[in-house]
């Protein structure tokens, strides 16, 4: 049986070059980067180089990269860290209803601590507009958190515009770029966010590592207290092999970005045309012209997602109903519910997310399998 993995938005297979870097680091640079002896210094050197590489991928300065244990921690550090450190300036935060839970649940916690949070609704195309943000800004607004692209629909948000608006109004702007890093060109010089979260395991790097870009001069209260690592913004012995592996993955992603982008687009386009050819009734969720190339979320009105996914799995196809991170739950997607509040569309939609190892033939195979499933319903 074929085994086809189209759930790259949940996690990606690790690149061989990344493993090589990591194993190398585990064997040779196992010192603690904070130690002053030569093992420590060797480790520190590798750490500095990796940080430099990561900084370059988004045109940031090395000291603006705070390494974390992943996207969730990076988003939490941005939201909690900024809000708690700057509450003297105001207590209002603007975000959207379609953020990842790492942002949403952090905001909900802040509400318990006395902050006011506005969760902007989305339109049927799956994005927020700059105007919505503008209308909801008050004198109390200190932070706007808007993801760069949504992890379920792949719809790209007007982060650049909103960043500009935030800058004009002197409000901090955080963006969750977990799904766009390595896929879309990102420059913090151009976008000018205050903070930006990124995760390694989405770009063929190891799990358990990510970073938060923090613009120089931004005040944050750290989630952890402890040693001096990451300039006290994130104490704990640095996860050096993973950091080095992440840097390799990021470097490779940057070098291959354009190729990858057009290849992913080609794959998802082929999938959509194959579905059309098979005459399977479907609709794409979200603006098909403003999505990241690797994600396509499809509504199949003739089925329900649970049985559909089980049958796909039987056919060796790994896709998902939305975010994996809601820890295995099959609750209807909060993103699709936000886009289509009155319809049961979330219960009949599936996310396909492609990666480097996929082929056009696989896309056509999936479409044929879906056709077969439809016939037997």
């Amino acid at each position: 049986m074929e085994k086809i993995y189209v759930d790259h938005a949940a996690s990606t297979p690790i690149d061989e070059r990344v493993i090589t870097t990591m194993i190398e680091a585990m064997k040779n640079q196992y010192g603690n980067p904070s130690s002053i002896h030569s093992f420590g210094r060797d480790a520190r050197k590798l750490l500095d180089e990796a940080r430099q590489t990561l900084a370059q991928t988004i045109e940031a300065k090395p000291n603006e990269i705070v390494l974390t244990s992943g996207g969730t921690e990076a988003n939490n550090l941005a939201i909690f860290g900024y809000a708690r450190a700057n509450k003297a300036k105001g207590n209002h935060i603007i975000t959207s209803a379609i953020e990842h839970h790492a942002v949403l649940d952090a905001c909900k916690q802040l509400e318990k601590e006395g902050f006011r949070v506005t969760y902007l609704p989305v339109n049927k195309d799956g994005y927020i507009t700059k105007e919505q943000v503008e209308e909801n800004m008050t004198d109390e607004t200190i932070l706007i958190a808007m993801m760069h692209a949504n992890n379920e629909t792949g719809v790209i948000q007007p982060a650049n515009e909103i960043a500009r608006l935030a800058k004009e109004k002197n409000i901090a702007f955080h963006t969750d770029a977990v799904q766009t890093y390595g896929v879309l060109p990102i420059s913090v010089k151009e976008m000018q966010p205050t903070m930006m979260a990124v995760s390694s395991h989405k770009i063929n790097g190891p799990k358990g590592i990510g970073f938060l870009y923090v613009k120089e001069g931004t005040k944050l209260i750290a989630t952890f207290a402890g040693g001096e690592q990451e300039k006290k913004r994130r104490p704990g012995t640095e996860n050096l092999p993973a950091i080095a592996g992440f840097a390799t993955a990021a470097k490779v992603a940057l070098e291959e970005r354009e190729q990858r982008g057009s290849f992913y687009q080609h794959l998802t386009d082929s999938f959509v045309s194959a579905l059309k050819e098979e005459e399977v009734p479907f609709q794409i969720n979200g603006d098909a012209n403003h999505r990241v190339p690797h994600i396509v979320n499809i509504y199949f009105p003739w089925t329900t997602v649970e049985s559909f996914l089980v049958r796909l799995d039987f056919a060796g196809i790994a896709a998902s109903s939305g975010s994996a991170c809601t820890a295995g739950s099959l609750d209807p997607s909060h993103v699709l519910t936000a886009m289509f509040p009155e319809e049961g569309r979330a219960q009949s939609s599936v996310r396909f997310s492609v990666g480097k190892g996929n082929t056009k033939e696989e896309m056509e195979y999936i479409a044929r399998e879906i056709k077969k499933m439809m016939k037997t319903i």
Binding site: A10, I14, A102, P206, K207, G236
Partner: protein, 383 residues
């Protein structure tokens, strides 16, 4: 190359690397995904959890995987403080904690919590009676390090735990990061409520750790999101990292007997040699200290210079905790023991692993016997 800084971090074992590599290549799915690649990754992950639970003497649901010791300590301390703050805002710790504990308490103080820092004796040990005496009606947490990372002093965790049983409204956490390697205990038997360990201190990987949390205890999470790790620690699970941690812990336990004797022999040999080395003052207590740590001061000499001299000979030791060894400040732990500024300013730490050989210890002794008298002559302290 002789690496004697195993308290700072250890070299991952080849079997651990293999386990990591295999898990990463074969089980790359997100364990929360419902398809086969996800469930396979989850199965492997849960197996690692079961193995760790068994090795630590805890239940499977009591194992919370974290990114390391710093996170575990922070999660335990802030997690209890916030979750139970309606009960009270008083906390107890000692003056010889790792920065990841100390700074967490300092942070809580800025938020209106009150912290009692129980002092230690000259061996760096807290008196269980003093801990008990610090308990108040509104105390919710006591956190005491098991093995101090600079001195190697073992704290009387079991006795403290026994005394604290009288106060069912408070929780007892121990930072077991240095203890887990060579001074193991069973979580259930020792009777603590929470216990932190870190993978890279026992030949596992950096960025991996465990907080053991007794069933039924609530914790306010540090990370909010997808609700992984029983809702206490959100974020995509580092499956290969935890598989590697389980492997490293298993090997550590398997080699325990060999380890203990071997390391103790090395430590004894080094202590004997230091006792006859002029200018050396041993800080590590003779009794009830971890087999892998020797802390020694060379008053009036600069520890950085000693370290540099040893480095030239291919031997790597450190001053104090790696996380704060950048600052050229006296050791806060040795000062807290009341051993004086001079000793606090001139301490070096030598820490062994099971892989340390007798010849390596001898080489260190030989080099110290050459370097120290030489330096003392230069400083004008030798006769």
């Amino acid at each position: 190359m002789i690496y004697l800084d195993n308290s700072a971090t250890t070299k991952p074992w080849p079997e651990v690397l293999e386990a990591y590599q295999k898990a990463t290549q074969t089980y790359f799915g997100n364990p929360s995904s419902l398809h086969r690649l996800g469930t396979e990754a989850d199965t492997l992950f849960q197996k690692a959890r079961q193995a760790v639970a068994k090795l630590l003497g805890a239940h499977t649901e009591e194992i919370i995987f974290t990114s390391g010791g710093t996170e575990g300590n922070n999660l335990a301390i802030k997690g209890i403080a916030f979750a139970y703050q309606t009960r009270g805002k008083h906390l107890i710790t000692s003056t010889v904690e790792h920065p990841s504990v100390l700074e967490a308490f300092r942070y809580l103080e800025t938020l209106g919590f009150e912290v009692t820092y129980v002092p230690v004796d000259q061996e760096g040990r807290v008196n269980p009676r003093h801990v008990e005496e610090a308990v108040r009606e509104d105390t919710t947490l006591v956190s005491i390090v098991h093995v101090n990372n600079e001195m190697g002093t073992i704290q009387p965790i079991e006795e403290i735990s026994r005394r604290l049983k009288k106060y069912p409204k408070l929780f007892f956490h121990t930072d077991h990061v240095q203890g887990v390697t060579h001074v193991p205990f069973s979580f259930r038997d020792i009777g603590v409520d929470l216990c932190t360990i870190s993978g890279h201190k026992f030949h596992g990987l950096k960025g991996t750790g465990v907080l053991v949390k007794r069933k039924g205890i609530r914790l306010s999470p540090l990370f909010h999101g997808g609700g992984q790790e029983f809702g206490v620690r959100s974020g995509t699970e580092n499956v290969p990292g935890m598989v590697a941690l389980a492997k490293a812990l298993r090997i550590t336990r398997e080699r325990q007997r060999e380890t203990k004797e071997k390391i103790l022999t090395g430590k004894k040999r080094l202590l004997e040699a230091l006792q006859t080395l002029e200018g050396a003052v041993i800080n590590t207590p003779v009794k009830d200290s971890a087999p892998h740590i020797v802390n020694v001061s060379f008053p009036t000499l600069k520890p950085e210079v000693i370290i540099q001299a040893l480095t030239k000979k291919g031997i790597h030791v450190s001053t104090k905790s790696a996380c704060s060894s950048k600052e050229n400040q006296p050791s806060a732990v040795i000062e807290a023991c009341g051993l004086g500024k001079e000793r606090a300013e001139s301490a070096i730490r030598i820490s062994f692993s099971v892989d340390t050989t007798e010849a390596e210890v001898e080489e260190l002794i030989t080099q110290l016997r050459m370097i120290i008298p030489e330096m003392r002559k230069v400083m004008g302290v030798a006769k």
